[in-house]
């Protein structure tokens, strides 16, 4: 469904960020990208979403170059939420969430009615209490939930979310990850970036590490190798703890 092949990317004046990233996301799968600041997670997501052209390599959506899709058709298949959404201050939450219906204004109409999609997104991201508030009065986490709800209403089979949990409190992080797992069970594919490797692993997401050199690395199965990879990439000492059968990693505090 999503296929990235040997992606390389260099910003005109910023040097090379990605050096050969290959990755596939299948229906029913939630893939999480972790990595240090500036390792290229956002760049990778933007290329995968067709918002940025790679310097070389291919980014495909459903077997066709993601940049070659007609914009509206692509928006029906792929929803993207940036790390810092820009919401016009005087618009109420309800209307901002309903903007997710924009691509479905063009034929063919969305398979499910807008009212149902709005209702589900509102429930999943717990927006009832702020539904009529203007965006200018929202906190960072609330704004992030509004942008995520908009992507839910877009109802695309592929979701790309740039650090969707970065401003969320623990309760809403859990709610979001549960909602994403539910979407995956319905055959959706999700690609997201995160800094919380443990929550990702506990939520049964497939975790990939993007290292500073711009290369994607899968987490090895063996515990010791996992620890070495993480220490190497993040430059901190970790200790392992087993939580309900999943090895979780915590940085050592002196």
């Amino acid at each position: 469904m999503v296929r990235l092949e040997d992606l390389r990317f260099a910003y005109p004046r910023g040097g090379e960020v990605l050096r050969g990233c290959t990755l596939g996301v299948r229906p029913g799968e939630v893939v999480a990208l972790a990595g240090p600041n500036g390792s290229g997670k956002t760049t990778l997501l933007k290329i995968a979403a067709g918002l940025l052209r790679p310097t070389s390599g291919r980014a495909e959506l459903d077997g066709k170059l993601v940049a070659a899709w007609d914009r509206v058709v692509r928006a029906k298949r792929l929803a993207y939420v940036p790390q810092k959404p820009m919401l016009p201050e005087d618009w109420p939450v309800s209307e901002l969430v309903a903007m997710g219906d924009f691509p479905h204004q063009e034929a063919p109409p969305a398979p499910r009615p807008l009212a149902q999609r709005l209702h589900e997104a509102r429930e999943a991201l717990e927006l009832e209490a702020i539904w009529d508030r203007p965006a200018g009065t929202l906190s960072g986490g609330e704004a992030q939930r509004v942008a995520l709800a908009r992507a839910f209403v877009q109802d695309a089979p592929v979701l790309m979310l740039d650090e969707p949990a970065s401003h969320l409190d623990l309760r809403h992080q859990m709610a979001l990850y549960c909602a994403l797992a539910a979407l995956a069970r319905r055959g959706r594919a999700v690609l997201l970036s995160t800094h919380d490797i443990n929550l990702s692993r506990l939520s049964e997401q497939r975790l990939l590490i993007l290292d500073r050199g711009g290369v994607l690395r899968a987490l090895p199965a063996e515990e010791e190798a996992q620890g070495r990879l993480l220490e190497d990439v993040f430059g901190v000492r970790f200790i392992a703890r087993d939580l309900s059968g999943v090895t979780c990693w915590f940085p050592k505090v002196k």
Binding site: A49, A75, K76, P82, M86, F102
Partner: protein
């Protein structure tokens, strides 16, 4: 459309019609043999001009403010009006008068070229910094106004009075077909963007968000800028630099009708028409006392209204 949006549209239409009535009939000299001659030869073309120019300026202001994400943007502030004026004055002086079937379209074309070159030149120089763009626009306007006067003194000193009126903005008494030339671009832009209001709404988001929702952001923005420039240029070609309509009208429309562009586009057009028609009618009423170009009235009313809006938004920000 919500009930409030519907009410605002109906009220705006009524305001435009009432102002049209006032501009047509107020102070019409009664009992003269030439009464119907004055009505058809003066009042009707003037009122049509005021309606279309006001609507064009209101709509152009809305589009500029949206695309540049700045409530201070309007054809006047951006230098578009100045560039257009310079082009128009140049064409008029070269052709020896604007109000001919050949001269007016040529003047409009020169105004359009002047406006486009100014806008895209300033966009390039300011490289995305809105403060630089607006300051550049103000400077360009002043420079173009001075340039237009120099051109006049040099080419045709006898037309200095006309150019002075042009720089303030006035409603000429054109032949009846002249306002009809304004109608196609104005009505096209109105219809085009009223139908694509939801797309305009998405321009309020970041480019990445709007694009991933399926909007061709670059194309939409360029189309809005070019059509807004065309509208202001055709307004300038006929009436010169009328200030404050493009600046104030979109703010009033947003205060009344809310935020959705499906409604703001027609509301800005109707309110712009109403505003300029009302200013024109005021000029007719006072014409026994003073004779002043309409741009004086729009500035006299528009400046305080804009100050009030500015203070209100600043207060809210604190």
């Amino acid at each position: 459309m919500t009930a409030r949006e519907g009410r605002v549209l109906i009220l705006s239409a009524f305001a435009a019609l009432a102002a049209l009535g006032a501009a047509l009939f107020l102070n019409l000299p009664r009992g003269l043999v030439s009464e119907s001659g004055i009505f058809w030869g003066v009042r009707v073309p003037e009122a049509l001009t005021a309606a279309l120019v006001g609507g064009s300026l209101g709509l152009a202001g809305l589009l500029f403010q949206l695309v540049l994400r700045n409530g201070l943007a309007d054809p006047y502030v951006l230098g578009v009006a100045g560039g257009s004026t310079f082009g128009a004055v140049l064409a008029t002086l070269a052709l020896g008068g604007a109000a001919t079937a050949f001269g007016l379209p040529m003047t409009a074309l020169a105004a359009f070229a002047g406006g486009l070159v100014t806008l895209f030149g300033l966009l390039r120089i300011s490289s995305g910094k809105v403060t630089a763009l607006l300051l550049g626009g103000v400077v360009a306007n002043t420079a173009f106004a001075a340039g237009a006067r120099v051109l006049t003194a040099w080419l045709s000193p006898s037309q200095l009075a006309w150019v002075t009126a042009f720089l303030v903005g006035f409603i000429p008494t054109p032949p009846l077909w002249a306002p009809l030339l304004l109608a196609p671009p104005a009505l096209y832009t109105l219809a085009r963007f009223a139908a694509r209001g939801r797309g305009l709404d998405l321009l309020l988001l970041s480019d990445d968000e709007a694009s991933s929702l399926g909007l061709a952001v670059g194309r939409m923005r360029t189309e809005a800028l070019v059509l807004a420039t065309l509208l202001s240029a055709s307004a300038v070609a006929l009436c010169g630099m009328i200030g404050f309509v493009g600046l104030v009208v979109p703010h009033v429309a947003r205060l009344a009708a809310g935020r959705r562009h499906r409604v703001l586009v027609p509301a800005s057009f109707l309110l712009g028409a109403a505003f300029l028609l009302a200013a024109h009618a005021l000029g007719k009423v006072l014409s026994g006392t003073w004779f002043l170009p309409v741009g004086v009235y729009t500035s006299l009313v528009g400046a305080p209204v804009f100050l009030v809006l500015l203070v209100r938004t600043q207060r809210r920000a604190w």
